[in-house]
């Protein structure tokens, strides 16, 4: 592939938009959480100020090389998903670097960030980090099972592993979305989305009041700033993944913003209603209903 400066420029601009939209969306969701608790909540610009504050901390301590690399791996996981994810399907400006088979790479990048973070946080040496990592990895392994089954079902249905092709196949109206043509895969995928977006029933990895605060316990200042930036990007691209797979993708930025917001809100809504699961509960939960739905989705299209 030859070097295309215009494409690179659009991709970087897209990353900037996604980062800022992710920060704004996080603020909205925290405000929604606050309103549910009858508080007013943070101002909408608080995530940016927190980010500036964290980057402006003067002193840093390190526990070794992997401690440095942990947040970088995590960030490259989030940015990696972004790079291979088509954002806006019309035209070819916002397709980023999606290609035939990008879905496999996106699945890989989802785990890549977590593994890098596990190594980095492990070197931090804090016992809560180790607990958070073991919980996070075991939970994510079970999340991947229904998610992968849903994706396999879609791949058989549309006969492709290219995300852009899956989105193009869903164009032409509301009833063409995979949500209607493949409801079982959508159900399995959206239940897995609750886990990947990390809100309440499945937030025992961070578990703010129990193991403060899981893997990033030792991370501070710039390290934490990198992790926060990645969190903002990751929330948007995860929502964009589900949007592309099940809800017909986006044809412009307004549609993108509305759909990603609603998909993220789905996990926040569930999180507001249901309390946190323990690790064995959440692991077995993913291996029950979502797994059965995923198997049905695959069998239907075999």
């Amino acid at each position: 592939m030859d070097f295309d400066i215009k494409r690179l420029g659009f991709t970087l601009l897209g990353l900037l938009i996604v980062l800022n939209w992710g920060l704004l969306m996080n603020a909205f969701m925290r405000k929604i959480g606050a309103r549910v608790a009858r508080r007013i909540g943070i101002p909408w610009h608080q995530p940016w100020i927190d980010l500036f504050k964290n980057y402006s901390i003067r002193s840093q301590i390190t526990h070794g090389l992997m401690f440095y690399l942990g947040p970088i791996f995590r960030l490259s996981g989030g940015v990696g998903i972004f790079l291979f994810m088509p954002m806006i399907i019309t035209g070819d400006h916002w397709l980023n670097y999606s290609f035939q088979g990008d879905l496999v790479l996106i699945m890989y990048f989802q785990f890549f960030g977590m593994l890098g973070m596990a190594l980095g946080a492990g070197e931090g040496g804090h016992p809560y980090s180790a607990i958070g990592i073991s919980r996070g990895l075991s939970q994510f392994t079970t999340i991947e099972v229904p998610l992968t089954l849903a994706i396999i079902s879609l791949a058989i249905q549309y006969d492709t592993l290219s995300l852009a092709d899956i989105v193009r196949a869903q164009q032409g109206g509301f009833m063409h979305w995979s949500m209607w043509t493949n409801p079982f895969a959508t159900a399995a995928g959206m239940l897995a989305a609750l886990g990947t977006l990390g809100h309440s029933p499945f937030n025992l990895v961070m578990a703010p009041n129990e193991i403060p605060i899981g893997p990033p316990t030792e991370y501070h200042s710039t390290f934490l700033g990198v992790l926060q930036s990645n969190g903002a990007i990751l929330h948007v691209v995860e929502a964009a993944l589900f949007m592309n797979l099940f809800f017909g993708g986006a044809t412009n930025w307004i549609e993108f913003i509305v759909k990603t917001f609603l998909i993220y809100f789905w996990s926040v809504f569930v999180g507001m209603v249901f309390p946190r699961f323990r690790i064995e509960q959440s692991v077995t939960w993913f291996l029950k209903v979502p797994l059965v739905l995923g198997v049905i989705a695959v069998v239907m299209f075999m």
């Binding site: 508080r39 909540g41 943070i42 608080q46 504050k53 901390i57 002193s59 316990t217 991370y219």
Partner: protein, 224 residues
């Protein structure tokens, strides 16, 4: 172990003793927890940014994003839950609770400090990163308050930690704590919230005061 006073109790927890251990591969190696687990390098003075406009902007961001360490000492910690719940809701003002000292900027000393707690407070304070601020609640931290003649509480907090803002009262109500936070924000925006650098500059004086009070000093002089 900088215990020079003969009267002080020598700490001899077997878990912290230097010892030889045989590993799973049959080779023996030395474990010295006091050196392996802690870093005892002295704190450094971190000068503010040399460009005044940049420092002013960063100070504005710091004042708008105060992360409070969830560490309650004494009776004043009961005044913190009303702050973060609907009645007073300090999230509106950019004040958030953080469970780990690494990520916190503000340490609220919420009331009397027993000597046992002071030790934990010092460890937690030293683990916080450089721009860090101490908010002292109640008359106990000013002059001992109703515990002024107690055998195991300290009377004046700023002998041991650099305090940015005192909030008088017994106990100060949440409104008073919010007023204290506003004062702290003013100080930070004026560039006067340099408690961490003050601590680093007068490190020997603070350490001497701390060691005068804490009898079983079983930690390095400075643990980050």
């Amino acid at each position: 172990m900088m215990v020079d006073d003969k009267n002080k109790k020598k700490f001899d927890n077997p878990h912290y003793a230097k010892r030889e251990v045989i590993g799973p591969d049959g080779k023996s190696f030395i474990v010295d927890p006091m050196n392996d687990y802690f870093c005892d390098a002295r704190p450094k003075v971190h000068e503010p940014n040399i460009i005044p406009a940049v420092e002013k902007f960063l100070n504005w961001a710091r004042s708008k994003s105060l992360w409070v360490l969830g560490f309650g000492t004494g009776c004043g910690s009961i005044e913190i839950p009303p702050l973060i719940t609907p009645r007073f809701d300090v999230f509106r003002f950019g004040i958030q609770m953080r469970p780990t000292p690494r990520q916190s900027n503000v340490f609220i000393i919420s009331g009397y400090l027993s000597v046992k707690t002071l030790k934990r407070v010092i460890r937690s304070y030293e683990q916080m990163q450089n721009p860090k601020y101490v908010l002292a609640l109640g008359s106990c931290t000013v002059n001992g308050g109703m515990y002024y003649d107690s055998y195991n509480t300290i009377n004046r907090l700023d002998y041991y930690l650099p305090v940015d803002v005192y909030i008088a009262g017994c106990m100060p109500r949440p409104e008073a704590i919010i007023a204290g936070f506003n004062k702290l924000k003013e100080l930070i925006r004026e560039g006067k919230g340099e408690g961490a650098n003050l601590y680093a500059k007068n490190f020997d004086w603070y350490k001497a005061n701390q060691k005068k009070i804490i009898k079983d000093w079983n930690m390095p002089d400075y643990n980050w």
